[in-house]
Structures are given as C-alpha cells and as structure tokens.
C-alpha cells in the first residue's frame, strides 16, 4: 500500500474520507482528512490577554461559550487570581447551558433523523423535517430544549452567540433575580424533554444493535476532568484516564501540565493533529474525550436522575467502560439530564445572585493554561504573555482533535463492515457520516448542515489507484 496524494478543497468544513484496500480487497486503512485551517494560534499573537476570550469565542458559532470560558480561565492563571465563588458558579451555569444547547443540537437536529428514519433512508428526508413528519413532538422538543440552553447563555451573557461576558478574573455582569426566575420557570419542561428523549433512546437501542457494534466499538483510553471526589466535572478538577476495563490508568493529573502526558503527532494527510497519551506512545496512546469519556471516567454523576441513568448506561457494558462510540448519543442525553439537574441546584443557591463577580489584578504570571470540558470534550487554552499582557504564543487543543485517532478507527471499522466490493453505496456513505457524527466533531460547518454533510469518499486500491469516488452535498 502506498501513500496517495489526495486532492482536497480548502473550503472550510468539507470532509474527505479515503479507504485504502489491501491486495485481498479488504479495507486496510481509512483516513478521515480534516482540511480546515483557521490560524487563531497565529493571529492572536500581539493582542492582549484581556481580549482573548472575545477573540477565541469566534472560533466557533456553535460552541463559542466553551472557548470564552476556557480563555477566561487561562487569563485567571496569568492574573494569578482565584475568581470569586459567585463568578465561578455563574461560569458553571453558562457552561451547563452550553452543554444542554450543544447536545440538543447534536441529538435532535443532527442525529435523530438517522436514528428514527434509518441508515438507508433517502438523504432528502434524513433531516429535521423528516423527523417532524415522523414524530412531530420529538422535533419540537429538540427545538425547545436547544432554545432553553441558548436562553441560559443569553440571560447571562446578553446574547446567544459570542457573548463577551467571561473575563480574566471572573465575569463582567452578575445574574439578575428576574433572569434567574426566567431560567427556573423553563426548567420543568426542559427536564421533561430530556427524560422523554432518554427513554426513547433506551427503548430503541435494540434496533440499532448492528450500528452500536460497528460504529467505533474498540478498546481505547478515555480522558476527562473529574471532581476531587471523583464525580462528573465540567469546569475544574483534575484529569483522569481510564482504560476499556474502566480501570484508572492515571488520576489526579494537573491539567495545566498537559504537555507531560499528552503528545501531539502530525500526519501529512490532515491539518488536524493527533493527540495521544504520552506514556503509551503513538498511536497506542489513542484516547477518546467528550460525553462518552466523561461518563466512563467519573465515579458518579452527582445528581439523582443522571446517576440512575448512569447505572443503566454502565449496565450495557457489564460495568466496564462503554467502548461503543455510537453510545456518545446515549451519553449526551444523560449529560443533558444531569446538566439540567445541576442548573436547578445552582439556581437555588442564593450566592448565584451575588454582585461579587470579578477579581481585579494585573499580570502576575507570564504563562497560563485554561482547561475545562466543552460539550465535545476537554478543551485546553495555553497562552504566553509579556510583562504587559500582550500575547506572545498560543496553543489550543480542541476537543475534536483528541478524538482524531478514534474517528479514523471508527471510519475504518464502518468501512470494513459495510463496504461491498468496489462500490461506495448510499448506505455506506450514510453510515460513515453517522459514525463521524456520533462524535459531534466541530469541523465548523461540515457536520452541522442538517442531513447533508459535504462528504467525499475515495476508494484507493493497493497500488494507490483510485477505484471509486463519491461526493455528496458539496
């Protein structure tokens, strides 16, 4: 098998998959090529650390809050301040709202069509309209649940997309009593929707058995933040790695010292790096992050309904780690439920209305790392500044990058199961798309265009010759 030069478009958000066949005609390797280049790590150099939350929030229109909060945390480290408790609670509240809205988008808007209508359904109906025709309540529930998460963000930050609210040292605006009550009033409906969706998934899991078995089911490590008591965490805490047996491989790792345990490999065929767990080397150190990893890593969720669901989730794998990437969907639904419960807890805390929300300080450290859990997984912002706070260097490790090795492995597994001769069938295309979508990767628009991810699949023979090619939605 030889390397093949793949023509790629630099149009942001287009996915390209190459399937490499061996002499026996079987898939030997599959590559998911990521072709977007954004350049944030370069053009942020020369700006001040105070500008970074607002600047880096522009990385994404779906999860700007994740970058906003992570950047503010890196700023906290450079200011060497501990943010006031109410500010931390408000940041947590916003991140929970972000988890709800992003997971709702992923499950209801993007993935429910696959689950409801099947993998062989016509792409023209595999979208939210198709879902609405099949199950109007589910479609409306999805819209309402996402609206709830976005409203939490809007009430706190002043707008739904790109709120410039979190700043180094805290946040720039407290929560009003009226805002708290508006969120609280909509919580019961959001909780009802989350429970209904979870019940739907659990009832129908049996009908997706084939996909669960082949959409990225393999042993790997999992990485996530966990709280000091081992419970589910999304904002602070320490890093934990577990293996496929759910044995703790490493625990209590300081997230700020990530270069000691995370390596980043580079492949010539993708702009996205390949992070790996350093002690295991590359590529053996493959790990997964995100909802599946967070549920595999934590000892418990820490809220009643989510813990009950977590017990059922773990029962599907006999208490070991759930290694089927298809169940990212399952994990996402459990996290929505738990996030809503945690929002309920925060709203009942009187301190949430405190006006002590910002610590003022100058530059006290020349380097700072911010880490937290974005909906898609662990996010790292690492800044170096000069004495005046001007950025000298930036390193960002985004959630999608952590899952790069696993996504490639998933694509290979799906191709091995569903490829038939030299034909790239509609069913294979749908499943490749679905396998990638399970991770909810943030490749900008590529997996966020409903039912029509612009996707190109190329089948490459043992001598590097192109045997077949199929493009959709470009």
């Amino acid at each position: 098998m030889r390397q093949v030069r793949i023509p790629v478009t630099r149009v942001e958000g287009h996915g390209l998959i190459t399937l490499h066949l061996g002499e026996d005609g079987r898939v030997r390797e599959a590559r998911f090529h990521v072709t977007e280049v954004r350049g944030f790590e370069r053009f942020c150099v020369g700006r001040t650390v105070w500008e970074m939350p607002a600047l880096t929030a522009r990385i994404c229109g779906i999860c700007p809050v994740s970058h906003l909060l992570c950047s503010a945390k890196a700023g906290d480290a450079i200011l060497a301040v501990r943010v006031p408790r109410p500010a931390e609670k408000l940041r947590r509240l916003m991140n929970l709202g972000q988890i709800v809205q992003s997971h709702a988008l992923s499950f209801f808007h993007l993935s429910s069509a696959d689950l409801l209508l099947g993998w062989d359904a016509d792409p023209k109906v595999r979208n939210l309209f198709g879902v609405a025709a099949f199950d109007r309540k589910l479609a409306l529930d999805g819209i309402r649940l996402r609206a709830f998460g976005q409203e939490v963000i809007e009430i706190l930050g002043g707008k739904r997309i790109h709120p410039a609210w979190a700043v180094p040292g805290g946040v720039n605006q407290p929560l009003s009593e009226e805002g708290r009550d508006r969120i609280a009033a909509k919580l019961p409906e959001a909780l009802r929707i989350a429970q209904d969706a979870l019940a739907y998934y659990e009832e129908h899991m049996g009908s997706w058995a084939e996909e669960i078995e082949h959409f990225g089911k393999f042993p790997s490590l999992f990485m996530a933040l966990v709280a000091p008591d081992g419970s589910w965490e999304h904002y602070a805490g320490h890093i934990r790695f577990v293996d496929a047996e759910r044995r703790v491989v490493a625990d209590g790792l300081d997230p700020a010292r990530y270069p000691e345990f995370i390596g980043e490999a580079v492949e010539s065929w993708s702009y996205l790096k390949f992070p790996y767990y350093k002690p295991y080397g590359y590529p053996e150190g493959m790990y997964r992050v995100g909802p599946l990893a967070r549920l595999n890593c934590c000892d418990r969720f820490g809220t009643k309904l989510a813990d009950e669901a977590l017990a059922r989730f773990r029962a599907t794998s006999g208490g070991k780690a759930v290694t089927a990437s298809f169940h990212y969907h399952y994990a996402r639904l459990i996290e929505i439920l738990g996030a809503l419960e945690k929002i309920q807890e925060l709203l009942s805390d009187p301190e949430i209305l405190s006006h002590r929300v910002r610590a003022e300080a100058g530059i006290n450290e020349l380097e700072g790392v911010g880490v937290h859990e974005a909906p898609r997984g662990t996010l790292f912002h690492h800044y170096w500044v000069d004495e005046t706070g001007v950025i000298q260097r930036v390193n960002l490790i985004v959630s999608t990058g952590h899952n790069n090795l696993a996504m490639n492995r998933t694509v290979a597994q799906i191709a091995q199961r569903w490829i038939s001769g030299r034909e790239i069938s509609e069913g294979l295309l749908n499943r490749l798309e679905g396998g990638i979508r399970a991770y909810d990767p943030c490749l900008s628009c590529s997996v966020h265009a409903v039912g029509q991810m612009p996707l190109r699949v190329v089948l490459v023979g043992p001598q590097g010759e192109i045997l077949a090619e199929r493009t959709r939605g470009a």
């Binding site: 979208n127 479609a139 819209i143 976005q150 997309i161 966020h448 265009a449 409903v450």
Partner: protein
C-alpha cells in the same frame, strides 16, 4: 401579537441596520421585538405565536426601503441558510400554520468591518424607524 425581528451583524456597518432598528424601536403594547445575527429554528415557537411578523434586514443596493409580503418557501431550508421564508416554512411544517409576514429591507452599500452606517442607509433607517413607531403605536 406583532413580532418584529431585526437582523444583522453589528460589526459589518450597514449590515447591522436591522439590529439597530430592533434596538431603537422601543416598547409598544402587543409588540415583541427581537434582534438577531441570524435566523435559527429556536425562533419558531415565537413566530407561530405571532399574528404578524415583520423581518427587518439590510439589502445590498440602492433604492427605497422595500416592504414585501412573504410566504413560506416551498423547499425546506438547511439550518445554515435559514431565510425569513425558510423560517416560515419550518413553522408551517411543524405547526401546520404560519402567520402573515413582511420582509422590510433597507438599502445598504457598506459591509466592511466596523460600526456606523453609510449616510444613505442612516437616512433610510431613521425614516423606517419613525414609520414603524407610528405603525406599531397605532398612528398609521
């Protein structure tokens, strides 16, 4: 209930005219005003609850402020290209009905990075604001 949705990007000069209208319209009985950078499916429950929806947006080119009666589009749109017609289409498909809707477009020529309108857009926006206030206040 009348729903006014002002659309635009606040840092693309004339493009932000719809947002500016939404921010300056003031409160009127029976009127809900929203500003948005883009249309998203989350607006559907608010659209279906309205008797009349007025979308205000910038229009590249010259000429007067245009009022155009719009109806749901026939082709279901994708989320990243949601137009006012598309939003009405979603509303109709999900709820079986969509309210009467008008698209009001303001001539615009400067879409560069920055704040503030070009002179012609500024004049058109101020005139539209006066007319909308009069209409929503029951004077027209």
């Amino acid at each position: 209930m009348i729903l006014v949705i002002g659309l635009g990007h606040p840092l693309r000069r004339d493009d932000g005219v719809g947002l500016w209208i939404a921010q300056n319209l003031g409160e009127h009985q029976g009127v809900r005003v929203l500003g948005a950078q883009e249309l998203t499916p989350e607006l559907i429950p608010q659209v279906v609850a309205a008797d009349l929806v007025i979308f205000v947006d910038a229009r590249a080119g010259a000429g007067p402020v245009r009022w155009e009666r719009i109806k749901p589009s026939s082709t279901p749109p994708l989320t990243h290209t949601l137009t006012p017609q598309g939003l009405l289409s979603w509303t109709e498909k999900l709820f079986g009905t969509a309210p009467e809707a008008w698209l009001v477009t303001v001539p615009a020529r400067d879409f560069s990075l920055g704040e503030g309108f070009s002179p012609r857009t500024r004049l058109a926006a101020e005139a539209l604001l006066r007319r909308l206030r009069a209409y929503l206040g029951g004077e027209e």
